[in-house]
Symmetry: C5
Subunit: 354 residues, 5 copies
């Protein structure tokens, strides 16, 4: 459950009110710009939007990336130049969006999340990424510079594969591909922790394991809330991304779609496993209770009859058998041992047969 | 579960019978009227419907708001002027409607709820709102004056944003937007309470926490019953609100739709969390039982053998070893300590290994 | 679970075999006939079908109601006059039908149930009602005279509202409306009992409450089996009741549809609540077990060490400290109290911290 | 779970390999042949397929029934004459089919099961029936002669109802009707056993009841696996049985469909009930545990303090109060009684209030 | 849960990067080639792709099978000759695919798994198989030579059935048929183990059974994740395998489809059974706890009162009754026996009645 608080602060405000909703205002926001074609690639970095005012695009594909969302005026300026709907700008700033894609006619607005897993505290954190996919341009908005998109940047620079020959839709695919694949990283960490926990549960259980189990469940819940709509996003791109995605890019989208389904199924399998592990835990606790009650019974069965016998021979009746017999003491001890053994055996057998 | 009682009182009555079904008859009902266009805005307030009889609308958009539903004659009069179907009037008075939208050809009838959360008693209360959306007019009906719609009223007055330039459909959207966003407020309060409870459960559990858990579950149930149909309402407006909602308003409706989906998913996540917390609670109770039985066993293991030994040396046999030995007493105490320790260790080990 | 027995008796019989399947054969069956138009209304009552042989209908709308189904010949005669399919007659007699509507071209056959709740024995009983809706006529078949349809009969007589002006479809709607609304009555009784039980569970639990819980669950199961298909019935009337229901009646059907959805959601909410209450019950039982074990441990912790000390000073060693000391007795008592207190505190603390 | 073993033996064999998969090879297979029209009916019985070689059909409708499936050559011959697909023949012999209907253009292949319930061992057994429905002929294949179809045979002979006047599709319906109705018989037996068990659970529980519960669950599972696809089969006949089922037979199919839905709903209701009964059982076990622990506590509370007092007055201190007092003994007994009573009352009250 | 690790290593790589993802690099990969028509069949085996360079196909149907996937250059060469999409090659090497079929226009790419069950360690292992189905050719890729497809190879050689007369689509069906049928083998082993466990649970339970239960659940989870998408694969072949599958092959595909549904239903039935068995296990544990507490209570009830009596007569009061009475001792023993018996009976009865 990421922080939801600030949502309610916006109740009643007009739509398009550009207020940054989110907790992690990091550094100074900045903008990078990559333009490329099969032949050429140029890169720019602007510390403010004003710096970029005189820039004129010269290549077929333009990729503008914004790091840091807490200065609404950057967004306002970009929104003005690319003619973006006020609701899009509002959604970019609102960093608790669920993954979705909206078709605004001239461009697609797509929002999703990069997940990071802190395997020590077993907590999932996420960072929202917005993509605007238009004819010949892709705009990406991230909360802070994380280097997540660096592999694509590198492939563009090195002109590796066919990425420079294909259009903005292929670039969008490449970014989305990284985004989806990042889910695997988190999922694998959760799966490893889950399997480690399973092994621990096979041994001796402790309440701490239950906490871990609960925490892992929460993690899968968070991931699940993001992945199911993400699948729908990709599905929608395949079905109706028509004007923006060329037929040649379709197999790649289908490939991403398969990946999201793969993530979902692994996630559900982990969840099923966790559910089964709770049963394991609870019955381990029950079993241990049985053992403890049994231990108590054993103690009672051995010592209570013996204590009674000692009590009997400690009574102060004048006439009592055995008391004057030199072997009396040993006889009494023998009676104690005999009764305890007999009773112990009896209960043992009845319990095993019951 | 809001009060359902009065429903059954209406069995067999003809449809359109205007009987107020609901518990909170508040003050004297009154009617406010806002008319506006891009240029001008006029406001009126009528204590009774008769006062408004001579009023003639003069602006493109008319917004009539009614506070208080317990005087059916107000509704009858409004129904007559705006030509409303008897079933609509019946539904407005019937304050336990589930959210829905009905298309009556000349207007849409929409009903939903404002929720309020009492975080002390963990109880959700709701107030029904009916909207009638026609060409150039919006009628809204509330159970009592709560000021929920004041932000819109304010934006209209201040001519902020584009609200005065757009038509009645945008006004309807703005009202609906507030309505949906109010769910976030309640949801966040429930989520906060849930997370607080989760932290408490990590410590020592008490039956009161179970009551809280149960109460939170009930709250989510109530909210859920309202939000799922609300999503359907918005979805229906998008799909078939055709004649009443202009294309330019569509993205705004889609935005509300996203919000309802967001509410639903957060709600389901809270419900999943609550389900997991019940497991936490139950196994905490089990764990504590184990600890108590263990404590009991420890006591028995330490004292029963020692008691037996004291009993043995308290027997009245004439011939018993050690009794005359000056160190006898200490030997007996040593035996007690030795046996208790040995037994204790044995059970300890078996329980830890078992 | 209503009695299902007789069903299997019909295996292998030809379809349309008119055997009354049901338990409650009441009195002598009789037939009432109401004919009406905007101007006029006539009523007849026939003790047997033969009596009605010479009757000729004279008004636009005809409503024939049959009480008592155990004389198949009544049905045969009606079937012959209104040209009913043998399967329809079979279904009317078969009083464990699930709600459904079948379109036989010339008429619709609709079957549903009136429910009654015995809130003392927490049991739901039902009575089957069959409606045949044709052009200008409605036939209704009930198992016994219960007066369920009396409000409609009264409205017809008093010419209240518009019922006399509208056709047979509106009459069918009015009957169906009563039928659906009766579910609310039963539901509210179950809901009241459920909430009462919930309050009881907050106090001290007893096995009898579990019985009540189980019984309430059964009741909701029975109701649920009836309401889900009933919703489908109404939905089907709306979608394809075309030739029989005029457009003007559509809003009324939609209204009934909303009511069935309302019943379903309330029912599911009650079921969710009952499921949560079982958890409440079970953990109350667990909590009490903990308390009892704790009580036992307290007793053991206080008395076992003291008993040991008394045993020690009851040993017969010749040389023992304190025995000859005049304060010896008080010292021994002091030791008992001290050890019991110390031990008690220790376990107390460990259990609270554990 | 019927025996699934032989399935895997067929891995890798070519399709249409005629190997009988099933356990119950009964007697000598034989074939009966009924031909009829409105006027005439002839019956034949052949001990082998060779006997029937010279037979020429002479009536509009032909019904061939085969008992016993373990001689593949019988099937091969029939398959050759009626031009059946090899996969059909393979499916007929494979007696663990799930209910299905396949359209092979010239005929429909339908397979389903007759169920029998052994209410003593609570076990469901089944026998597969295959129907081939063509223009003017119905072929039926049963594992052994059980007389299940005798009522239809009898109606054909006695020319009762309209069965002789209608075609092969009505015959197919009549056979299917018996098949579906047989499910009611089994279901009613399971329902009776379930209700009997419910009554038993209201009294004192025993582990044997849990076994019964588990067995009943298994039975419903088996039935369920058969009935859900059966509903689909009937549904498919209604929707696309076009060339084989005449419009006049449609209402009859719809009637069967209603029956399958009825069976499914009763089955699911029983399953819900069984799930609730497990909760009843488990909490009865918990309740009893509470009672036992309470009994133990009562014993401890009464006897431990008294034992301590007796121990105290058994100590060998020289100076002790009361010992020389003639009422000392009674005072000691009084103290015992007083402390036990006080403690007992205290715990009693605390437990009832806790 | 097969190993998922290497997935995340591919994040950010361009699509089509041929890296073998999987653990079991076995021997030297090799390629077999079968070409056939109704008349003739030739077989080749190549140790490397270079050897096959000069080979020219001469028969209507070509089946190329590759064993071993760890040498990407083999795939690159085959991909070049058959004009395969880079994503297909990537998927073939990626051995943790979920079953799917992709239509690449010129060919279908299908991927699924052969399962093997280790019934000793209760673990499911799988081996990925990729099929490429084109006009006149089928390519199959396996991780290692297992002989799974040998029955088809044999049928081809012996010209058995009609396999040589039909085209590549029938060959694809034959391979798929073996693949689906292999699921039955695994399923039957799991079912046998499940039923064996069920019998064990009817006797005395041990924690090891819970482990087995958990393991069986995991196995069904793994199988389930493979079979549900496999059903979709076959369904897709039936619905839209159009250009590749001739109408005559359709019934065979439908037959495979039925088999996958059969596998799914058996699997779900086993899962339901396993869920029920967990309840059995848990209530057995509870029942045993009850028995143990009862045993403890019995011991306490018998010995505590007796011990008290012995303590009473061990007190040192000067004036006590019975002490001087020669029968005093026996009277005391009698009192012990009497009280123990009475108390025992009382608790017994109360517990049975409670």
């Amino acid at each position: 459950m990421t922080k939801r608080k600030p949502r309610s602060l916006k109740t009643g405000l007009p739509p398009g009110a550009l207020i940054h909703v989110g907790e992690r205002k990091t550094e100074q926001p900045y903008v990078t710009l990559v333009e490329y074609g099969p032949e050429k690639l140029t890169e720019h970095r602007f510390a403010s939007v004003h710096d970029s005012r005189d820039h004129r695009p010269s290549q077929p594909v333009l990729w503008l990336n914004v790091y840091g969302l807490h200065e609404p005026e950057v967004l306002t300026e970009i929104g003005r130049r690319f003619n973006l709907h006020p609701l899009v700008l509002e959604d970019i700033l609102n960093t608790d969006q669920r993954p979705k894609v909206d078709d605004y006619g001239d461009y697609l607005y797509l929002v999703a999340c990069f997940f990071t897993y802190d395997s020590e505290h077993l907590s999932v954190s996420s960072e929202q990424v917005s993509l605007i996919i238009g004819q010949g341009f892709v705009l990406s908005f991230q909360e802070r510079p994380t280097g997540n998109f660096d592999p694509v940047r590198e492939r563009l620079r090195q002109n590796g594969g066919q990425i420079r020959k294909l259009g903005a839709d292929y670039l969008a695919y490449a970014l989305l591909d990284i985004l989806v694949d990042r889910h695997f990283t988190v999922l694998e960490q959760i799966a490893d922790r889950t399997e480690a926990l399973e092994d621990e549960l096979m041994g001796n259980v402790s309440p701490a394991m239950l906490q871990t189990l609960h925490q892992l469940k929460r993690d899968t819940l968070i991931l699940r809330r993001a992945v199911w709509p993400l699948r729908e996003v990709v599905n929608q791109l395949i079905r109706s991304g028509g004007p923006f995605f060329q037929p040649a890019t379709q197999p790649y989208l289908r490939d991403i779609y398969d990946h999201t389904v793969h993530v979902i199924e692994s996630l559900e399998a982990i969840r099923d496993l966790l559910a089964g592990m709770l049963d394991l835990y609870l019955s381990s606790v029950s079993n241990r209770l049985n053992q403890e009650v049994r231990a108590l019974t054993v103690v009672a069965v051995i010592f209570m009859p013996a204590t009674l016998i000692s009590g009997i021979f400690g009574m102060n009746f004048r006439t009592m058998p055995l008391l004057d017999n030199p072997e009396g003491f040993l006889v009494a001890l023998g009676m104690m041992a005999f009764i305890a053994t007999t009773l112990g055996l009896t209960f043992w057998r009845r319990r095993w047969l019951g």
